[in-house]
Symmetry: C2
Subunit: 346 residues, 2 copies
């Protein structure tokens, strides 16, 4: 295990919000509690999904529960968020999304018209990528034992033959690409929750990334080494995890990372660093140096990658660390998020 959290899991007797925040304590829960029980060659890769053999094919399999509060927000709702989230986890495995399951945990008293609206969004989101919802489940819990609606989506995809995506392929010299401006989802949710009012409406960036990834893989082939969508914990947490698992350093340029003006303003008011704020439609890619230009140009030809940029490189120094070169020319280490910055963001 390349990473040692300074806070041993044994310090805690009960689950805290930080265990679910996507930061250090989440990682500790997985490494210290879950993995010892279930370590196998698939799970131990700790990717967004598992790639397993099935009938001679290469199957990507991924699960995610969505507990976002509130369930409706500018730019989407828990329904399209759940569908896009699972589509994206499959895409990050280099897999074309094929089939989804859908499981609801509803709280007694949840309005049926809200459920219908969420179902309509789910249908629309699944149609965009042509994924089929083929099986489902519904449970109802008593009032006060849930929070309106929780959704689990689990997906099956087929790894496309021109892809070879694996975190272990990340290596010094790789270019780090980012598909667009960051922090929009988390800020949209938090502004709504805090009742903040801005001149422009801050919208979630929830979107299905498979069509963009398909373009990237067609352009870069096996020059695309690894992909991650920057959800819980934001770009900083995702890059930290990859640096740790690759045993390499990652250096990124602050000036290359775009944050929309209004999002930046909201981050300042809320006291948040956009690097740690969740995205739901942005990815980071690790691409071989000689394929980076083609992949970047393929990204920019897709609406979800218009503002794609190279933000950094993988280096052999500083193994396991993420370094930020600031606008002023300094360099600082960007740590894994330690506490719970934003609960219930997805």
């Amino acid at each position: 295990m390349p990473f040692e959290c300074p806070i041993p899991l044994q310090t805690y007797e009960t689950i805290t919000l930080s265990h679910g925040g996507g930061g250090k304590l989440s990682q500790r829960l997985v490494n210290d509690l879950f993995l010892p029980y279930f370590n196998n060659r698939y799970l131990s890769q700790l990717h967004d999904g598992a790639i397993v053999p099935f009938a001679g094919g290469c199957l990507a399999f991924t699960t995610d529960s969505f507990v976002v509060s509130p369930p409706f927000f500018p730019g989407g709702n828990i329904g399209d968020l759940a569908i896009n989230g699972t589509i994206n986890d499959l895409a990050m495995c280099g897999a074309r999304p094929l089939f989804l399951s859908l499981a609801f945990i509803l709280e007694e008293g949840f309005p049926l018209k809200d459920l219908a609206e969420i179902l309509a969004s789910i249908r629309t989101a699944s149609e965009v990528v042509g994924v089929e919802i083929v099986t489902g489940d519904t449970k109802v819990v008593e009032r006060g034992k849930g929070d309106g609606i929780f959704i689990n989506t689990t997906g099956i995809g087929e790894v496309v033959e021109y892809a070879c995506i694996a975190l272990r392929r990340v290596q010094p010299g790789d270019r780090v690409l980012l598909s667009g401006p960051i922090a929009e989802h988390g800020i949209a949710i938090l502004s709504l929750r805090e009742g903040l009012d801005f001149e422009t409406e801050l919208k979630s960036d929830t979107a299905p990334l498979w069509p963009l990834v398909q373009n990237m893989l067609k352009a870069g082939g096996d020059g695309v080494h690894a992909l991650r969508d920057a959800t819980r914990g934001g770009v900083a947490s995702v890059l930290n995890e990859i640096a740790q698992s690759a045993g390499a350093g990652i250096v990124i340029e602050e000036t290359e990372i775009a944050v929309r003006e209004d999002v930046r303003g909201a981050c300042e008011i809320l006291g948040l660093d956009p690097l740690y704020v969740a995205n739901e439609g942005k990815l980071v890619a690790f691409v071989a140096q000689d394929a980076a230009e083609q992949v970047l140009s393929a990204m920019r030809q897709h609406p979800l990658g218009l503002e794609a940029v190279q933000i950094g490189t993988v280096v052999s120094t500083h193994p396991g660390k993420l370094l930020l070169r600031t606008a002023l020319g300094g360099t600082r280490i960007v740590e894994m998020m330690s506490g719970e910055q934003l609960p219930r963001i997805c």
Copy 2:
């Protein structure tokens, strides 16, 4: 749609516990709200899982969320219940369980030692059948927004080549087999919840049915037409659903359906009809007349089928109805459960 619930969905403005009970209103929610949004050739079969093509093979895919309260009960806990439940849903498709995903929604304050105990049960249950847990997710919700622990398990299985299981294959003349005595899971949970104390301990029957099903399929081949585990809503609800979807009648013999003495006693005290009480390790099978004897004898050779019996037959009269021939020789219609008999049973 062969079945018309007398209570239109529109009567309700919000979700009630009955929407999750496995009875009429659950069926209404699926038929009137979910299916119109997602009708496709896979989902509309309304089986325990979907059977989809993948890489030239035949893949079974099924999802289930577990919200049982309390999470620990005699005979098991929410962990092995979740693993066995998904193994069983795959088995009911005639599929060998291969891979599972595991997604937790934990409430702030849930004891880590309870989580560890549940994980240990999950590992043991998955090892019994040799299924691998290959991907997972954990979310944490604030205190008061959940109920300790909810688990979603989603499974992938490979439909074995000697099976041809589909509800549409159920036809008049088919024998109805039941794998053992009923109502044990529901009664174990409810006795615990109500603080009832009996001389013997009432235990959940949670168990993985795949090894039993494998024996049945090897013995009966495509003479095994359909399989269902009798969970929420019990044997009565499951047989009603099958009668409706087959457009045939089912006649069962009360004297053939075994209920253990202590379970029967608890049902009487609690005012429950064992036919509607959930099982977590019992199945009903619809088998061609000429294969019934072999299948029954194969069942009895497995520890989970020692007490297997033929409980009835499919008839061309009374389409869509379940009829019970009572011990006294009368015949009565057994309706689909209408309300919520037992919330949070699985």
